[in-house]
Symmetry: C2
């Protein structure tokens, strides 16, 4: 446990700042992760983390924007903000941590004597997580995807916690609230937090380019959630995305993942938030060597909404191309 | 010269297909690049190339879409389409060719006895280029940029060719026609073509994700240009981009490139096609280690339009952040 600590008193009233120290290990020196504590006394205890994956930069930017205006706007409670929990990956613009090749969001709760990703997870789990009852982990999708602005959670066994988490996710008022029945959740930050009874949601957004427009929608979602928690005053409004203001609560199953039938250039023929019917053309695959007639049409396997679409690009056989989603009935 | 050739007769009437053979060299086997010839007799002679840079996939996709509908729509002339002139880079999703690390668009006219990028450039220059009087090279910007849908050219010394090239670029009716006074044009495909008196334009678009919406705008631009050339019938219309239908002819100077004042996370505060005044806030740089007050505001150095904005992300000091542009007066 030696060495893992905050360098400042997060209980102090008002804005206080310092670092979360991730101790040195065999692979690198100690890391100092910037942490901001915004304490206005009794009320909700919220932790906001960004930069879990280093090529998802909306989160760190929105987290740092919050630090600018939240100290003045906040009326109660405490918000701990750690804008970049994986600075090594942020600097490298990579999903995984370059030093150990690990996905930080698959090694929670981490290990104090592990590699650097595991030591980060351990420090976040032991020092930051106990300071909050609610967690917003600000992600994006991957840079080679288009994904609906959304708040995502995985199914929670505890029905009461599940309902509270869905309500928290819906409070962002982003176009999609998604319950994702994902097959690969071992080691995720949310599982560790939910096992401690905490409300944990991930914002997802993008991917690809991080534009001023996208950041405005993302920040509006977080602002709405802060209003819903009673941390700031104001009226929550649906941000405008693609000229619409809407929210849908959807679910995605593991079987809702469409994979490429071959290698080649994927041409998307559908857009995020589209409603498609079973059999609709949703993409075309162009094998590079094709001279004619070689293009492979790709059809929607089920009537559904388009949650995320692989950006047009070269794909290998069996790579994921599209994630479908359908209405959630709780 | 041995070995560099088309495997088919591009003079045959109608649609004919085959390969451009790039001979083997010390670094790899011979490459076979798919080529489509759409010959409807007398009329304009157009060459369309895509995949010059391997991480710019709009071009190859639009080129392959053309092959689907152009044979029926075309009324005269001949169009040669080479959708992916650098398949090695396309497969690797890289700007430069992985085998020799070279930027194909900096080694024209190439060398028959050079490395693979130079051999590709040589084959394109000696076999494809002589078959056309007009060239559309379908690019995008880089994946970490937002860039206005545009047709770009570099200044041409010959005033008559310059005027013809600007008119060709404007015929796409994309939001921006740009004359870019770029400092690093040695070895570019367009310089070689223009030195032979040919009209050569580059479409640029993106970057980031290649979506169905983006592809529709891109293809509409190419369609407009085909109408202007008289190759197909129809009425050219401005594609809708960001709820607007407009075209501006702009120029960018080398001094219109804004660089990062430090390393950190770049937050864009402007969007492509915005009109900004000198001194407007256009971005914020957040150093990773910053705890407060460390953010650096970035202002527009000149009254101008935003042509391209670096996607929010981690940048090094002196990396390009924004390209400005101003109205062109011919």
């Amino acid at each position: 446990m030696t060495g893992t600590a905050l360098t400042f008193d997060a209980e102090a009233y008002g804005l206080s700042t310092g670092h979360l120290i991730v101790p040195e290990g065999v692979d690198c020196e100690a890391l100092s992760l910037p942490v901001f504590s915004l304490n206005k006394g009794d009320g909700p205890r919220l932790l906001i983390t960004g930069g879990n994956h280093g090529n998802e930069l909306e989160g760190p930017i929105v987290a740092r924007r919050l630090v600018e205006w939240l100290p003045e706007a906040q009326t109660c409670g405490r918000v701990i903000i750690a804008p970049e929990i994986n600075p090594l990956a942020v600097q490298a613009w990579t999903r995984n941590t370059p030093l150990d090749g690990k996905n930080l969001n698959r090694v929670f709760p981490g290990r104090a004597d592990g590699s650097v990703s595991e030591r980060i997870a351990d420090a976040v789990t032991r020092v930051l997580l106990p300071m909050a009852d609610i967690v917003f982990d600000l992600h994006s999708f991957a840079p080679t995807w288009n994904c609906a602005p959304s708040v995502v959670m995985h199914p929670v066994a505890d029905a009461e916690l599940m309902a509270r988490t869905v309500r928290m996710a819906e409070a962002f008022k982003l176009p999609v609230t998604l319950v994702w029945d994902y097959h690969d959740t071992a080691g995720m930050f949310d599982i560790v937090a939910q096992n401690q009874g905490k409300v944990f949601v991930c914002s997802e957004f993008g991917g690809g380019t991080v534009s001023a427009d996208a950041l405005a929608v993302y920040e509006a979602g977080v602002h709405n959630a802060l209003i819903a928690l009673g941390l700031v005053e104001g009226k929550a409004e649906h941000p405008i995305f693609r000229q619409r203001q809407s929210t849908r609560t959807l679910k995605t199953l593991s079987s809702d993942e469409l994979q490429s039938p071959a290698r080649g250039i994927f041409e998307p023929r559908c857009s995020i938030l589209d409603e498609v019917k079973q059999g609709d053309l949703v993409g075309v695959l162009h094998p590079l060597e094709s001279l004619s007639g070689g293009a492979v049409d790709i059809y929607a396997p089920t009537t559904s909404f388009i949650y995320a679409v692989r950006s047009g690009g070269y794909v290998e056989s069996d790579e994921e191309l599209i994630y479908f989603a359908r209405p959630l009935k709780l």
